[in-house]
Amino acid sequence: MAASNELRFHEFEEAAELLSATPTATTASTGARQSHTTVDVGPGYEEGEPGEDADSAELLGGQRKPRSFWTFEYYQAFFDVDTYQVLDRIKGSVMPLPGKNFVRHHLRNNPDLYGPFWICATLVFALAISGNLSHLPEKQASPSFHYSPQFHKVTIAATIVYCYAWLVPLALWGYLRWRQGAGARAGAYSFLETVCVYGYSLFAYIPAAVLWLIPAAWLQWLLLAVAALLSASVLALTFWPLVRADGRAAAVALLAAVVSLHTLLAVCCKLYFFQRPPSAGPAPSPLHTTLGTEPHRSRAPQHFSNLSQPASSRQ
């Protein structure tokens, strides 16, 4: 008898606790038992029974959405690509064919983050390593030159590349959303698609960065022009159908901004990572660097003082 008393007492105590937690619960012992079960299992793992508790069901519904965002499966959807798809997208990002929209023909409603992330990572290390190696011929030339790995340039390259690959698509996507207003048309690209297009468009700079090792200035600038032209025209072809309806001037201005930002990234990387140490002055002009990176030339300090000297010696 005493044991059963004890048992019942515990039950009521739990019911009281539950009452304080959920004031709307019934005081009947069966009701308390039911809600007790629900609490034990945990509100997040079980869908609220229909009609049991309106506000708790609402709470559960509110909890479910962020939960799905935090699950691993949510992110697996961004990496749902096969090898041939990635190769196909890379190929598409360097072949601007009129009428072939990158988003429509290559992404096909399945934008991935694998390509953008690893293309950016590769570009970061390609820039840092090949920029460092491009200083190497100086070592043989001058005995006083001490080789250093310049590891901090990896951090700088990572900052530049990842900022470009995320912030510019964000701005572009926001601008397009704003222009299209509330009635977003069916043709609008999602943020993920915009990021994907930009990430793949950076691929063209990876071979360019490796080939910038060749110490011939005209070849370096030619490579830069080709890479920027190919990838920027893919970008322009991709975004042209979206902005076409927005008036000719606005559309052209937007595309010009996209193309010039893309080219600016390449030029900045070229000037910063492949610049010779003696000419580490503040922001050299392209002409200056063109002349400065001529082989077997102008590593002496007079390069600073006399700009016309290399040009005159070439004649």
Binding site: M1, A2, A3, S4, N5, E6, L7, F9, E13, F72, Y75, Q76, F78, F79, V81, D82, T83, Y84, V86, Y114, W118, A121, T122, F125, I129, N132, H146, Y147, S148, P149, Q150, F151, H152
Partner: protein
Amino acid sequence: MAAAEGSGAGGAAKPLFAGLSDVSISEDIPVEGEITVPVGSRSPDEDYSTLDEPVRDTIMRDLKAVGKKFVHVMYPKKSSALLRDWDLWGPLVLCVSLALMLQGGSADSKDDGGPQFAEVFVIIWFGAVVITLNSKLLGGTISFFQSLCVLGYCVLPLTVAMLVCRLVLLAGSGTVSFVVRLVVVIAMFGWSTLASTAFLADSQPPNRKALVVYPIFLFYFVISWMILTFTPQ
């Protein structure tokens, strides 16, 4: 609760306990399960405890486990021993020793020196975590720490390469020395990549193997680059 117990225990303690012997338990409370308590039925082998063994034995057993995995990396056979019982001791030891050996470069000139200790440490661990997440996101069936363990242990050839490089640099730093270091680092880079691929590639869907192997290749390539460009003073 306290008041009720006080009245139950203090007020009517004697009658309660007196009545308890009369009441049959099975009437009020359903009793289930095994009630008998097993006493001394197990053999000494079954409840072998590591609590009272010497500390030496404990440490030696763990060291042997780590050493066995080192051997597995150096002879990368298709074995699941590295995957089954993972540990992070080996990766920690390898990472710390690699980062320590990469010190002593041009650390005084902060501007254009080699990688600092923290940079090496972060690159190895952060890189391994990112590669693991990448392979998990692509649908790999391997667990998080198994992959981390394999990637960490496969740094071993590169740590050996670093050791060789330091020894070669002691002898001198001419062209011959550079060629020797280049050959050693390239060989060990290939070894690391092949070993980790042998362990990790099987857990992937066949049409995504290249997508998983490429980040591993990049990871070991960067570590090799740090080793090759290490210059003392």
